[in-house]
């Protein structure tokens, strides 16, 4: 499903208009801090402060493919092996670790800060450097825990391929509460 970043973002808190407006700001601030805005397409937040619970339903924008060696650096075949020149050092640590795992420490050399040499005939081109999808989900979980009011310590989350559902409450989460939250969020989505 094609979506713009955060094309729909709705917050509903019956009886707490100020809270709704402020939580909108808080959610945007936190998603921005963690660099998640571009990965979320739609976001619905429903809070019943009398129950109380805090529920979020979100749609994830497209799937991120795993990052491969060819994505993070230039790969050239050299004498007795392959040379990788890395421009962006963000993934350097992951890259070295992936190469060590695949070839062994003695087969990987780093003659310069941004250059790696692999002493092997096998091309490292398709080696996975980082699993962005897993990282994204971890960050998303972190963001949701940060966003939910702190007293809401009982949490439940359902991570799907294309969407996620998060519920936080003060009291024990009962099936009826989950059903009610889902119904409210579903209503917001279909409205």
């Amino acid at each position: 499903m094609e979506m713009d970043p955060l094309e729909v973002f709705e917050v509903e808190m019956p009886g707490e208009d100020y809270g709704a407006e402020k939580y909108r700001e808080i959610i945007l601030d936190i998603l921005q801090d963690l660099g998640l805005i571009r990965s979320i397409g739609r976001l619905y937040v429903y809070v019943d402060i009398k129950a109380p619970y805090f529920a979020v339903l979100g749609m994830i924008r497209g799937k991120q493919p795993p990052l491969k060696v060819s994505d993070v650096g230039d790969l050239v075949q050299a004498d007795g092996g392959y040379q990788i020149t890395v421009e962006d050092e963000e993934h350097m640590a992951n890259l070295i670790r992936a190469l060590w795992d695949a070839y062994g420490r003695d087969k990987v050399e780093q003659p310069e800060r941004n250059v790696l040499v692999v002493l092997s005939d096998k091309s490292p081109e398709d080696l996975v450097v980082a699993d962005l999808e897993t990282e994204f989900r971890r960050d998303l979980m972190d963001a949701l825990v940060r966003i939910a009011p702190e007293g809401f310590r009982n949490r439940r989350n359902e991570m799907g391929k294309e969407s996620f559902f998060f519920l936080a409450a003060e009291e024990t989460i009962k099936p009826e509460m989950v059903a009610e939250a889902k119904e409210k969020l579903g209503g917001m989505r279909d409205a």
């Binding site: 808190m13 009886g15 707490e16 100020y18 809270g19 402020k22 939580y23 700001e25 808080i26 601030d29 936190i30 801090d33 402060i49 009398k50 109380p52 940060r146 009011p149 702190e150 007293g151 809401f152 310590r153 003060e170 009291e171």
Partner: protein, 307 residues
């Protein structure tokens, strides 16, 4: 009548200011050196202010009134988790500090949530050691109303801050309510946000004034700054204390940051020119903060004299 002022200027020649304060009969409360700059918090006799202003002009420093100087204010958040810190709790604490107060941040052990929040005896006693307290609550009206039990047993004036607009009548145990603070996830930098911080400082000022007027009905036997001077002279080990503020002033006493067991007798023996000892005119008890010494000066009605 002593005026609380804050001097900000270069370290070079700042001792001229401290000497002048001494000569005028004022008190130096706090001295903060940050590289080449210095911040002095002082109490200066009102009539002698022009002399200090002239000196300030000569040194090209900045002299401001610090209405909260000589007081200690607690800034209390439901916990010390990322939800409440660093914004806005640190903003509030820092802003109070800039107006001369000593602010302490306190994160409660179980202050979160609507139904399960609670405060224990230790926390209550610790907060009561301050002159006023600012509670930082969130954005939900309902939650702010439900958290009343956290502060209804405190004996110091309580300033509640939160997001929504609320009526003072809804919070009978609070001294004042300051809206538009609430939970935010960014630093306070917009004019409206800074304005809310100003409101908190103003509310704190009013709360402290109410305490002062209460004290003035039955004046203390002596003033806390005078006790501070005497302790500095007669308990020289205080200069070895590593705290940024070895003696913290309250409106009705002070906290001396030395171990209680070793020093409480020395503190009780501190003698004033009139011949009375501190032990005779004040209660000297262990503070709830670390193992410091808490001094509470007795009022005139209990000692029968004023020195």
């Amino acid at each position: 009548m002593l005026d609380p002022v804050m001097f900000t200027g270069g370290v070079y020649k700042h001792d001229l200011v401290t000497e002048l304060i001494e000569d005028l009969g004022g008190y130096l409360l706090q001295k903060n050196v940050t590289q080449s700059e210095i911040i002095l918090l002082m109490l200066v006799p009102h009539d002698d202010m022009p002399v200090l202003e002239a000196m300030n002009k000569e040194l090209r420093g900045k002299l401001e009134r610090a209405p909260l100087a000589g007081t200690e204010i607690a800034v209390v958040t439901p916990t010390l988790a990322i939800h409440h810190l660093p914004h806005p709790a640190c903003d509030v604490a820092e802003y109070l500090r800039r107006h001369g107060a000593k602010s302490n941040m306190i994160g409660m052990g179980r202050g979160v949530a609507r139904e399960i929040s609670q405060i224990d005896e230790y926390e209550t006693a610790l907060i009561n050691e301050h002159d006023a307290v600012v509670f930082i609550f969130g954005n939900f009206t309902d939650c702010i109303l439900k958290k009343e039990h956290l502060y209804q047993n405190l004996s110091v004036p309580v300033i509640i801050t939160g997001g929504p607009e609320m009526k003072k009548e809804d919070l009978p145990y609070a001294f004042e309510y300051v809206p538009n603070v609430g939970r935010i996830a960014h630093r306070s930098r917009k004019a409206t946000e800074i304005g809310s911080l100003d409101n908190i400082v103003a509310a704190a000022g009013r709360a402290l004034d109410s305490v002062r007027s209460q004290i003035s009905k039955d004046p203390l036997t002596t003033t806390p700054p005078r006790v501070m001077e005497a302790v500095r002279e007669q308990v020289p080990d205080i200069t070895q204390s590593l705290s940024p503020l070895p003696i913290a002033l309250n409106l009705n006493g002070l906290r001396i940051k030395l171990p209680f067991e070793e020093y409480h007798e020395a503190v009780a023996m501190v003698t004033f020119d009139e011949g009375v000892t501190l032990g005779e005119i004040a209660k000297i008890v262990p503070s709830r903060m670390k193992n410091y010494i808490l001094v509470r000066i007795l009022p005139n009605s209990e000692t029968g004299f004023v020195v």
